[in-house]
């Protein structure tokens, strides 16, 4: 398997432009450079037909300049032409210097260091662009399928003036999709580094099977509290809220963390709950935009108690905490929730009578101080009686505190887990993701 020509070209380009900038620093100046690049084919489907296809090639470089106790940052799109991009970045360096001259001192500036070097390149076997549509829609013939296929190379790289160098490149694809029978729908996802027609067909067949279960009579469930099973992807949605300030040390210190009670030992979660920032999942590089390298695994919640929040070096400087390689936003990049003891074959029986939720939708804090979250059910969600699926439900709104749902109300976690790779495509294709088990929860609160 050969390395992508795009990745090879971008690497040469990054080195050339970075050399150009770093060799132009003056006096006590220090600089960090970050590169974010992708070569992606996006194909959007509706009703198993193509709505839009878009090829995107983009390279962006960021420069953070420190000097005289001040910090300025700039980033820009690069053209891919070395001479032009060197000139553009040197112009940006000049602009950063001009800004340093008018900015007040930055009391929380983190002096740049050499945090070492890393070099990882992963190759894949992707579909040729002109073969994508036939490969995707062929096995889905007769289905009402909507979704997005995205594939190509993604690069993240970092260098600084202290000699630090990091490189991460990967070739991946995902097909994030849903199947419909009228308004009844199921969600599916196929992702990896090597497109295998048989695996895509099997993935589709599983989704078709789930959709067939949706043929049962539609159930209307009144608002109230119900014993509820959240499948792994629904759990990923729920614990994903921890990335909205809950695990951020800076948010905690600023009075904005929904996990303040957890951090201050005023509250705790279930002893069954173990959450780790786990780069061993292989979903994202360990280095952040300062080039700091996280430990391979950082325990965040152990037996329901907070082990550590995510602490960036800037937060460390401001509040006197010990940094742990977190990125600037202090959100999890590879959240890993440990499995429990409930076997998949026993889920319906243990649920008994209640709700089986495959997916959640549009979550938001409804009362941050009590870590209360609201959201909707979506896709394959069922009413279950005596361990048997009765039928799909009409969408329901729920409103529940994480301190309760992942605290005293948490009955069991499953032995099986699912990896939910990031399929975000805002600005560029994301890296990262999470791994979660399913969760059986007592008296989950539904409101509308």
């Amino acid at each position: 398997m050969s390395q992508s020509p795009f990745v090879t070209t971008v690497r040469q380009h990054f080195d050339a432009v970075a050399d150009c900038v770093l060799q132009s620093l003056q006096g006590d100046e220090a600089a960090t450079l970050n590169l974010n690049a992708e070569e992606t084919l996006f194909v959007r489907f509706n009703n198993n037909r193509v709505r839009q296809n878009t090829n995107v090639e983009q390279i962006a470089m960021g420069l953070q300049l420190q000097g005289a106790g001040r910090t300025a940052a700039m980033s820009r799109t690069l053209s891919g032409k070395v001479e032009a991009d060197c000139a553009a970045m040197l112009q940006m360096l000049t602009q950063c210097r001009d800004e340093l001259a008018v900015l007040p001192p930055d009391p929380h500036q983190v002096p740049l260091e050499n945090h070492g070097s890393s070099d990882e390149t992963f190759s894949g076997q992707l579909l040729a662009p002109d073969a994508v549509v036939d490969a995707v829609v062929g096995p889905a013939q007769g289905c009402d399928m909507a979704g997005l296929y995205a594939a190509g190379s993604i690069v993240r790289a970092n260098r600084n003036s202290k000699g630090q160098r990091h490189w991460f490149a990967t070739q991946t694809f995902f097909m994030d999709y849903s199947l419909y029978n009228g308004s009844r729908a199921v969600k599916g996802s196929y992702a990896g580094t090597h497109w295998e027609p048989a695996q895509w067909a099997a993935n589709l067949a599983h989704s078709k099977h789930l959709l067939a279960l949706m043929d049962k009579p539609l159930q209307t469930v009144k608002p109230g509290q119900y014993r509820t099973y959240l499948a792994p992807r629904a759990v990923a949605d729920l614990v994903g809220m921890m990335g909205w300030n809950a695990l951020s040390a800076s948010a905690w210190k600023q009075g904005r963390s929904p996990f303040k009670k957890l951090a201050d030992k005023e509250s705790r979660l279930s002893t069954q709950l173990h959450i780790t920032e786990n780069f061993g999942l292989g979903l994202t590089p360990r280095f952040n935009t300062l080039g700091e390298v996280s430990a391979p695994a950082v325990p965040l919640i152990t037996a329901g108690e907070l082990s550590t929040l995510l602490i960036s070096s800037r937060t460390s400087k401001e509040f006197g905490l010990v940094a742990n390689g977190a990125n600037e936003s202090e959100g999890p990049r590879a959240l890993d929730m440990a499995p429990g003891s409930l076997e998949e074959k026993d889920v319906l029986r243990q649920l008994g009578t209640g709700l089986y939720l495959s997916n959640l939708h549009y979550l938001n804090w409804s009362d941050p101080v009590s870590a209360r979250v609201t959201g909707m059910t979506r896709y394959a969600c069922f009413w279950v009686e005596n361990g048997e699926i009765v039928g799909p439900i009409k969408d329901m709104r729920w409103d529940e505190s994480l301190y309760d749902a992942l605290g005293d109300k948490l009955l069991a976690l499953t032995t099986h887990t699912a990896i939910d790779p990031a399929v975000d495509t805002y600005y560029h294709r994301a890296l990262g993701g999470s791994r979660t088990p399913g969760a059986l929860i007592d008296n989950f609160t539904f409101t509308l």
Partner: protein
Amino acid sequence: MPHFDPQPALRHALQAAQWAGLRYSRESTQTRAVRNDAPEKNDTTLEEGAMCEVLIDGHFGYAATADLSNAGLQRAFDQAITTTRATAGHKVHPFTDAHRAAVQGVYQSPAQKPLATTPLALITDCLLAASKAMAIGDKVVNRSAHAAVIQTHIDYYSTNGTHTTQRFDMVDITVAATAAEGMQSQTRTWTHTGQFGGEVFDVAAFAQQGLRVATEALELLAAPNCPSGTMDLILMPDQMMLQIHESIGHPLELDRILGDERNYAGWSFVQPTDFGTLRYGSPLMHVTFDPTKQNAMASYAFDDGGSPARREFLIEGGVLKRGLGSVESQERTGLPGVANFRSSSWNRAPIDRMANVNLEPGTSSLDDMIASVEDGILMSTNRSWSIDDYRNKFQFGCEHGRLIKNGKLAGVVRNPNYRGVTVDFWNRLGAVGKDEATYGTLFCGKGEPSQVIRVGHSSPACLFRGVEVFGGQS
């Protein structure tokens, strides 16, 4: 003018395509932030590139590149041609070059003082003034102020003679105070977002807003929780913005109704047969799509397919009239739409977006509305938002609540929330204020691949009868 000639590449594309277009975009965003009187962020981003678009066998396809040399543009067109040729046989609908208007024209944001010459030091001074004004007690634990200054230049060319040039000057300001004591915490914010110039950077105004939000954050910290129950609800314009956005704007997008968004943002409860017949809300409800609104965030002269932008009524007298759909969605549905084929940047293809969607002013004063409420609550400033994928069941939360008792404003309450179902809720509209205010956001998410786009919403305060209201646990 962009520093390249697009015509050779467009002619190159015509060797294989029935039509070709090129949208050049250059955008600089300067972000300044201070927190607790210290600089927190000084960041400038420059994005520049071109989206090359081709029509082959009735299907539009795209390729984006930042290599603006003739060779780079031709290579992008070749990519678009190759992929589009392979996908056209599976297209959702056959289009023609008639779906790309042949137009010429210009647009310029109405800035009084050019952003390009606004000193960065003045912006920092404004933010520091706000931060310092919020320092009114130890319980105000976080004082943040943020400003983004955005300058965008978009040129659109096509092989059927289109050339439009649009220049946008935009400002997004947020000032926020967080007050905390024990386990309790409350945040109050002020935002000012729209197409403005440097005239908005006024040190005294920032200090005034800083003092106000800090004072109100402390009031919230000491306030009781919002009561629960069914009561009358007055929403101020800075919450009406969110209510309009989520429960009118998104469900009326024709691409959602067509199912393009089903796998991501979701579908819509609105059916094609509802246009012209559905009583969406009370007869007091008049809603427009208005890209001509002065200083609103999403004003423009042409959308990204070249369609000239005009003000249109979406809902008149409470009855649904028109959808938020571009020429492509209009062609696919046979329904009337608007010029809203918009993309977030050079690297994304346009889709149906809502732009400025406004609730037109009525005749009531705020005092009249309050006087008409026996038992109710007045809510300001969105804090939490969630709605289902059909845009029916919503739950929204606000930063600030005021009780209304026997026609008069009473005490402040914290953690005010309300929930409802879209059509039922809008039919509870009992009064519409006469004085509107305009708000906006940079971050409306939608699409596959995903895009965040700018929207604006103007509205007066509105009264809704008999709404389910509730507070927090703490």
